[in-house]
């Protein structure tokens, strides 16, 4: 079993934020993946999707599923993160009031993504964008 999916995400489009995560959840359910693993994957993915919508101009999500792990790559074109260490701190946020009105922007997204991941890597370049690589193992 090896599957690959790709989704395009538009910055600012809050009505569609979560569509990709929802489709991935359905796929993982069909593949009979452990519900606890599914929850970790889709919570991390949804947080990442919301981040792209909230902060970037547009982005892509790549999902690779095999028998051992689920790999997520979230790549956006956007302002980038000047200080990743600070962005990883619980409570640090640069979200707009609009994002906060949607129920987010409390500076909890990136730490929560890391918590739900077995492997987590973030790269960012100011003025270019941010890349997030996440792996969740299927069999712990």
């Amino acid at each position: 079993m090896a599957m690959h999916f790709e989704y395009k995400i538009e910055g600012g489009d809050f009505t569609r934020a979560g569509n990709a995560s929802s489709q991935v959840k359905r796929t993982l359910k069909q593949l009979n993946v452990d519900p606890k693993v599914i929850k970790r994957v889709v919570v991390a993915l949804y947080e990442g999707e919301v981040n792209i919508v909230a902060h970037a101009y547009h982005g892509e999500i790549h999902i690779d599923i095999d028998t051992e792990k689920i790999k997520l790559a979230l790549i956006d074109q956007g302002p980038g993160i000047p200080n990743i260490e600070q962005a990883m701190e619980m409570g640090f946020s640069t979200a707009t009031p609009e994002v906060r009105e949607m129920g987010f922007g409390a500076g909890m997204g990136l730490p929560n993504i890391k918590k739900n991941s077995d492997k987590f890597r973030i790269e960012s370049e100011v003025g270019v964008g941010t890349k997030l690589y996440i792996e969740v193992y299927i069999n712990q």
Partner: protein, 114 residues
Amino acid sequence: MKLKDVAEILKGKVVCGSEQIEKEVEFAFSSDLMSDVLTLQKDNVILLTGLANVQALRTAEMSDISCIVFVRNKKVNEDMLKLGKESGIVLIECSCSMFKASGMLFSNGLKPIF
């Protein structure tokens, strides 16, 4: 507690998922901040919120939350209803404040997560 008891205690209106109201739930979490909801580890949870938008439903979907109670007379709109049906989430509207709704459910045996 069954979801139909939740609706009855709060004098709420089940606007989506009425076929699931016999479902048992054990825990409740009250929040308008979806970032907090996304950190929950427990299963069998209902969400009480005053945040009436599609992201409340998406958050519930990703967190395996089977029912959302919208407090403070917040209304479920068309987009939310569509998403609720698609993802099989029970949606209840009630006119109580978040504090009152939480208190009533707590005193009737619904447990806090922490």
